[in-house]
Symmetry: C2
Subunit: 190 residues, 2 copies
DNA sequence: GTCTATACGATGATAGAC
DNA sequence: GTCTATCATCGTATAGAC
């Protein structure tokens, strides 16, 4: 069942490599070296370099969408849902470190029709996030504010985590989360 | 005086191209086409592709450092200085759109010793920003919080601007700034 | 599935005539 | 300073033996 160990290792190293150097700067030659194979042997496990990028991007997307679905289906009030979403982003950024960069930056190198599909998913995610923010405002739980500005400020502000967190193991995810919420969430809370 | 018109145009188009496609994906062939020259002619104006990246990165760095210096020398209280710094970032992001991406993302492709120098400058900037945040906390103007978390949240959260702003000319810089401050600054204000 | 060998294109950059 | 022509290098990917 599942994928072979070799295949698994290739995907993991590819994600790490793409994160470290960026998709374009990451060469198949270096990937092969890290995995301990010849370049040509890699191609027994997948069809092209971009296929690796596709897997990483859409796997990440699925993680965010599943988290969103859970939040939407919860019975919490809107402001609590926003809290949960911020928490979701922090959790993904601290557990699946590699995927975050790629998900936020390297998707640009997807070719059609994958690029279009990816952007569609992202747009959908943003809309659903915005909807929850708007519900929070309507319910009087969040300040009157430009939802788009708030959305992007929140989403983008969490993007430094993946680079910073691994270095500072001293701080726990829990306290990190509460610090971020203090800066970010308290800023939009009435 | 100053640089020749051709040279100027090359720098501008290079900045735009690097922003649109990323440094690695931007080819000298496309740059030449946009400028209206043959590739080889470009090299009469500069020595290498990376030289263009260096100029963009360090020009951007200078803009931030000058802004920081002005803020530091002002007699405003710490929390007002933080306001001014956020305003500085918004102003740079909305006026010098191209430089922001490159300054935030593409510096990775600098080679030594420029990479080291750039990172040194950035570190210096972050330290000075942190110092002001700490002064705000000590003065009781800002909440008790983890300064590093606050710093990166602020810095990173402004990074969506350069991509979003050009599309939405409907909103003025002034009102954009006040919306961002509402989300961000009010979040750290006691 | 892994290897050696190689195809083939795109890239940054240079030489030398005008 | 701009051109035409060309180079060397490195990229992804494939062919075919084992």
């Amino acid at each position: 069942m599942a994928v072979s160990p070799t295949k698994q290792k290739i995907f993991e190293e590819a994600a790490r490599l793409f994160q470290e150097k960026g998709y374009l700067a990451a060469s198949m030659r270096e990937l092969a070296q890290r995995v301990g194979l010849q370049v040509s042997s890699l191609y027994s496990h997948f069809g092209s370099k971009e296929e690796l990028l596709q897997k990483i991007c859409f796997d990440s997307a699925r993680a965010y969408l599943e988290g969103m679905k859970n939040v939407e289906e919860s019975s919490a009030k809107p402001s609590e849902k926003v809290r949960q979403l911020i928490s979701l982003h922090i959790r993904i950024a601290t557990t699946d470190v590699t995927s975050v960069t790629i998900f936020s930056d390297e998707w640009r190198h997807l070719s059609e029709p994958y690029l279009r599909e990816f952007l569609g998913i992202r747009k959908d995610y943003e809309k659903r996030f915005s909807k929850i923010l708007q519900q929070g405002i309507d319910a009087g739980e969040l300040k009157e504010m430009n939802v788009t500005v708030a959305l992007f400020t929140i989403l983008t502000s969490l993007r430094w985590l993946h680079r910073w967190y691994p270095e500072k193991r001293g701080i726990s995810v829990k306290s990190l989360e509460s610090e971020i919420l203090r800066v970010l969430f308290d800023g939009i809370k009435k």
